[in-house]
Symmetry: C2
Subunit: 144 residues, 2 copies
DNA sequence: AAATTTGCTTGCGAATTGCAAGTGCAAATG
DNA sequence: CATTTGCACTTGCAATTCGCAAGCAAATTT
């Protein structure tokens, strides 16, 4: 859980020191909303991240303590990437980004339906999904 | 209000197409929380943005419709940068980022106090500050 | 045993970043 | 009213980062 830069004491700036690029948050998105958890999974996402960029981002995300590498239960050739609690706690940020995009950008109808649902009871949605994600966490022996 | 890229139909990805760098959100932060509204104001912020980068970001933010350029009431030499409604609506995103940072990163005590206050009644805080920001908007003749 | 999958690493040209200096107009100053 | 200062940028250029393509070793499948 390394702390590299830190342009200022501002929390937004500090958050951007980790996530201020076009890819890092998408990896978290895939883990939160699409249950992706291997290198190959992330490579396959719609935005087509380059393999070297993916490797670099996974490393910094791990160094920042938002994800962790674990041995994959199904195969030694695979690596299991999991969110830490720090990573799971980004869910409200991801949700608000989507609510904003839903209002001000072009969003696919299927996603609009999902967001409408999530917005209906925001707190409960966050609590339920967070619990679910943190549940998986504790079953790895790394839960708090 | 230009639409340049669009890596996928995902709302998070689309938001990152605009804000996926280390500077854009900081400009919005300065406008929302520090009442900054001139080129010089933004240059002076703690993170020391380079002048060419600032000019480039202001342009894309304007093209994305989150800020607008207006003539400065006090001086012709100055330019007044203002948030649009689209920009003001980023407040919940900025808040959640800060709540996350408050929990998981190192944050200055004064800011922790501010965030504690904001969190106490999140909805009211957002409504009040949004109204305030949108109020300024309508006094420029560009309010909806 | 050979082919394929998986998680990377390496090379390299292209694009972006960031520092420093410069430019043109407006406003303040002497 | 001539000159300096302030303001909002632009330009040049070196350094870093990005992104495509290829390569690679270990594990797994056929």
């Amino acid at each position: 859980m390394k702390n590299k830069v830190n342009r200022s004491g501002c929390p937004i700036s500090s958050m951007l020191d980790i996530f201020g690029d076009k890819w890092s948050l998408l990896i978290i998105r895939d883990m939160v909303f699409s249950d992706k958890n291997t290198y190959g999974d992330f490579l396959k996402s719609d935005e087509k991240i380059a393999t070297n960029i993916l490797a670099a981002r996974l490393l910094t995300l791990e160094e920042s303590g938002v994800i962790q590498k674990l041995e994959h239960p199904g195969s030694k050739a695979k690596v299991l990437y999991m969110l830490t609690e720090k990573g799971i706690d980004l869910l409200p940020v991801l949700l608000e980004i989507q609510f904003w995009a839903d209002k001000h950008l072009t969003v696919l109808p299927e996603i609009k339906v999902f967001l409408k649902e999530a917005k209906k009871d925001r707190e409960k949605f966050i609590k339920t999904l967070s619990r679910q994600l943190k549940g998986r966490l504790s079953s790895t022996g790394n839960g708090k």
